[in-house]
């Protein structure tokens, strides 16, 4: 089985002359990205976070083997991953969004398409399905081979692009 990698952050730049890097976190609790042990880059390099501190909406990290600004700048744009099995176990009714990405969404006996990504406009996580339809994550009823959705009445008709005349 191929190890599944979850992207938890990205290096956005260098800070100072001692090799600190700026990391933008993608985890729901922002500082959690530094609690999973060593992080892996897409090319297989492994980074140990020796020290982390918040700065505005990013974090400044000291990584092992990164001792000067040139090395830090070379890492700009590097995505940082953790192994899926390092993530903490879930409680009843919880899911990791990465577990459902790529699966087919089914509602009312109809296949709506595969889940291609997630959006958040400030009103909760939304799943983006093939074709551009958006469905709140809270409508997921169960996850197995396919993702079963429990949608409100007439939701599928209303979610289509503009066709109505109601005000």
């Amino acid at each position: 089985m191929v190890a599944q990698l979850i992207c938890v952050g990205v290096i956005t730049g260098a800070h100072g002359i001692k090799g600190e890097v700026k990391v933008k976190s993608f985890t729901s609790v922002p500082k959690a990205f530094a609690t999973y042990g060593s992080l892996v880059a897409g090319d297989g390099r492994s980074f140990e976070i020796k020290h982390v501190r918040p700065q505005k909406d990013e974090f400044l990290c000291v990584l092992n083997n990164i001792g000067d600004r040139n090395a830090a700048e070379a890492l700009r744009g590097t995505e940082l991953f953790v192994l899926r099995e390092k993530l903490p176990p879930l409680n009843e009714g919880e899911i990791y969004l990465s577990d459902v990405q790529g699966k087919l969404a089914v509602a009312e006996g109809k296949t709506l398409g595969s889940i291609i990504g997630f959006q958040n406009f400030g009103a909760g996580e939304l799943m983006e399905l093939e074709g551009g339809m958006l469905v709140p994550v809270s409508f997921i009823a169960s996850v197995a081979e396919v993702v079963m959705l429990e949608l409100p009445d007439s939701y599928l008709d209303d979610a289509k692009p503009d066709s109505g005349s109601e005000i």
Partner: protein
């Protein structure tokens, strides 16, 4: 008292009626074009489908959204990130 406070929050009348009708039935999404309507405490727990000019964006109302407008949660523009080639072009 400022004029805006005296007047109270604006909500389209029909939306209040729809929300009141849906309150007993949470398995219902309210389709609306009224992006200007303020989210009232009575809307908490309801799901709206707010039009963004192109399609309807689902908005599940939570307590911290009270006082904001529905339109704030249905963005009308899509940000396309600049590609690396764009950056090079801009630098020249």
């Amino acid at each position: 008292m400022t004029r805006s406070v005296w007047k109270g929050p604006f909500v389209d009348g029909y939306l209040i009626k729809k929300a009141a009708a849906a309150n007993g039935n949470r398995n219902h999404a309210i389709k609306t074009w009224s992006r200007r309507s303020t989210i009232l405490p009575t809307f908490v727990g309801l799901t709206f489908q707010v039009h963004n000019g192109n399609k309807f964006i689902p908005v599940h109302v939570s307590e911290e959204m009270v006082g904001h407008k529905l339109g704030e949660f249905a963005p009308t523009r899509t940000f396309k990130a600049h590609s690396a080639s764009d950056k090079k072009a801009a630098a020249k």
